[in-house]
């Protein structure tokens, strides 16, 4: 049995089911209790679970992310939320020096089973401090797991796994996916972290991507199919851990790769994957791997400028043709 719900509803269901299942799970962040989150994800939670488990914080990101680390070390499972991933910079120490490093530096004594939900991404005309895709920033820090699902089904199943995971997990949620309605299973399910998903099979080229760019890649794939080019869309879903086996399998089949993300191109996680493929799968490649990312600029406000700054389906189509020399 399946049902059709929005991505934001799917995320809400994951939180709800996990809060019912485990009373150690609590949620905390700005405007998520009384208002039920700026994207209405946690509406009704305060009434159901009460103010100890559904906490409106002051605008104190460093403070409440630090609290999440402390509560997690004591065995709670906090799911904290940043209103935008851009504000991770304000909470950098608790996330990057504390949550990420606690287990290692205590010689394995500590576990920090916290989840940070962080809305990300371009396209809403919110300018430089509200539009960033910071995959590279989070993936850089050993100790953090990082996921970036695209579909409602993946968003729900992976968030549930993230909450049950004993490591800190960063969940990157693209703001322009929230309103998308999609089929998900009626019954309870989990999707493990670290498993990529082939969203479209193809034989000519592999598009490795995640989050909203999965949808753009699928659109591009359709356009290309009409021209006789058959691309595979590999949705990583999970960035750390990375499903290397899935990459090997796909690249060994298609021998051509582009990697699509909304990140600033320089220093991107897309670049990291490209490097790994170049190092280890060189013999499989018919052409150099191309990264299709944002520009090396600050996200601009004006629509005419912002549209230059993230890959669209036609950008992807062009890149595929370039790599295939068509």
């Amino acid at each position: 049995m399946s049902k059709k719900i929005t991505v934001s509803k799917a995320i809400g269901e994951a939180l709800h089911e996990e809060m019912v299942r485990d009373d150690k799970v609590f949620i905390m962040g700005e405007d998520m209790a009384v208002m039920g989150n700026v994207f209405a994800i946690t509406r009704g939670f305060l009434e159901e679970f009460g103010p100890n488990r559904v906490i409106d914080t002051p605008i104190s990101e460093e403070g409440f992310c630090g609290m999440a680390v402390g509560a997690a070390m004591r065995g709670m499972r906090p799911v904290v939320e940043l209103m935008y991933d851009d504000f991770a910079t304000v909470a950098a120490d608790p996330l990057l020096n504390q949550a990420a490093k606690m287990r290692y530096m205590s010689g394995g004594q500590a576990t920090v089973p916290m989840v940070l939900r962080a809305p990300m991404g371009a396209g809403r005309r919110n300018a430089g401090q509200h539009s960033q895709s910071l995959e590279n920033f989070f993936c850089h820090f050993p100790g953090l797991k990082v996921i970036a699902p695209c579909t409602a089904k993946d968003a729900k199943g992976m968030l549930k796994s993230a909450i049950r995971d004993d490591d800190p997990v960063i969940v990157l949620e693209h703001k322009l996916l929230y309103a998308k309605k999609e089929e998900i299973p009626e019954e309870e399910y989990l999707i493990p972290l670290g498993q990529a998903d082939v969203k479209r099979e193809g034989k000519d080229l592999t598009i490795i991507t995640w989050s909203r760019e999965v949808n753009f890649s699928l659109e591009a794939a359709q356009t290309l199919a009409a021209e006789g080019i058959d691309v595979e869309v590999l949705d990583l879903r999970s960035l750390v851990p990375l499903d290397w086996d899935a990459i090997v399998k796909s690249v060994s089949k298609t021998h051509n790769v582009i990697i699509v993300s909304e990140e600033v191109k320089r220093g991107s996680y897309a670049g990291e994957i490209s490097a790994q493929i170049a190092e280890e799968l060189f013999d499989e490649l018919d052409a150099p791997v191309e990264r299709v990312c944002g520009l090396n600029i600050v996200p601009p406000f004006s629509p005419t400028l912002e549209d230059e700054n993230f890959p669209h389906p036609d950008t992807i189509v062009k890149a595929v043709k370039r790599v295939l020399n068509k």
Binding site: Q129, N296, L305
Partner: protein
């Protein structure tokens, strides 16, 4: 209300500034609702007396920082509504050439406006830093950091107030307390009725004033600016205001009790100042003329913005760096 005597002209100036701010924002809201603006805008309708009063006390050589709710500060500072509106539209003629938008209006060279900001609390460090620069360079500028109630719960508030106090920096922090950070009523997440008294912990003087009374705000700010300019260090002024709209334009603000707006409308700054002026003998027609002039001015600003061009897509890569931009952006 302040008991000093003010001339009709002075009070009329406050009235005009407040009306211009409100009119600018009403026009912007109209454009936003019609889908002419991309992104988001945050309106300061209801908070005009705070901006008008504060900026009357700020001198041309002074600097200031602003926030996501910053149109009023820009207008009160005397910035050009055409260029402000064009920025809201993302047009090339805007203050930031369309790169920043509503939350990032700035005019650093002519108006010493160090920028509105999308990061809550960011102006606290920037304003203190600007004051540090003034101290090091020995100029007589004071920097005013304008920000909202809820931003005082960021750690940077305390870090910077402590340093500013220890180093006697010429900075004034102007808190517009509208009691809300998005949906969160400040007292649900803050243990004190007022925010400015936190300054006492750093031995910094402070004042809490009625932010719907432009004159009261002005007087508090004059005192604060004098204090900072005379080398005695920072000063914190908290103005109690009302935010008539939701957090952003289009937010229905269902989280807010009806009494909030009832009280707000009883204290409408523009109406109160209008009445005060009429009591001093100003005619209704004179006030009407001010409103009409503002209406014309802001209609023209909208027209200017509409008629302006969007930036060319090639401009996406300009101005990331001050030198060697092309190479730095290329790879």
């Amino acid at each position: 209300m302040a008991n000093k005597k003010y001339s009709k002209e002075q009070l009329t100036d406050f009235y005009r500034t407040m009306v211009r701010i409100r009119t600018f924002e009403e026009k912007a809201a109209e454009c936003f609702t019609k889908g002419m603006l991309a992104g988001n805008i945050h309106l300061s309708i209801g908070q005009e007396a705070a901006a008008a009063g504060a900026f009357a006390a700020i001198q041309p050589q002074d600097y200031f920082t602003s926030t996501h709710r910053g149109h009023g500060h820009a207008i009160a500072r005397g910035m050009d509504p055409n260029l402000c509106m064009a920025e809201l539209f993302g047009k090339k003629t805007g203050y930031c050439q369309g790169k920043g938008g509503s939350m990032h209006i700035a005019d650093m060279k002519k108006m010493n406006h160090l920028g509105a900001n999308g990061i809550v609390g960011a102006g606290q460090g920037i304003s203190a830093g600007s004051a540090l620069a003034s101290k090091i360079m020995g100029d007589d500028a004071v920097t005013v950091g304008c920000f909202g109630d809820s931003s005082t719960n960021e750690g940077t508030f305390h870090e910077n107030l402590n340093m500013a106090a220890a180093w006697k920096l010429p900075v004034v922090w102007f808190i517009e307390n509208n009691c809300y950070g998005v949906s969160t009523e400040i007292h649900r997440v803050t243990n004190t009725p007022d925010l400015a008294p936190r300054a006492a912990a750093y031995d910094v003087p402070f004042a809490v004033v009625d932010g719907t009374d432009a004159v009261a705000v002005y007087e508090a700010m004059v005192k604060a600016m004098d204090h900072a300019r005379s080398g005695k260090g920072p000063y914190v002024v908290e103005a109690k205001v009302y935010r008539y709209q939701g957090h952003y334009c289009g937010d229905p603000a269902v989280y807010r009790p009806d009494e909030y707006m009832e009280k707000a409308l009883e204290n409408d700054a523009i109406e109160k100042m209008g009445k005060r002026l009429m009591d001093l003998g100003v005619k209704a027609e004179e006030l009407e003329a001010i409103r009409k002039a503002a209406d014309d001015e802001m209609n023209a600003a909208v027209q200017f913005a509409v008629d302006s061009e969007y930036p060319d897509p090639s401009e996406a890569v300009t101005d990331v760096y001050s030198s060697d931009n092309e190479r730095c952006v290329a790879r």
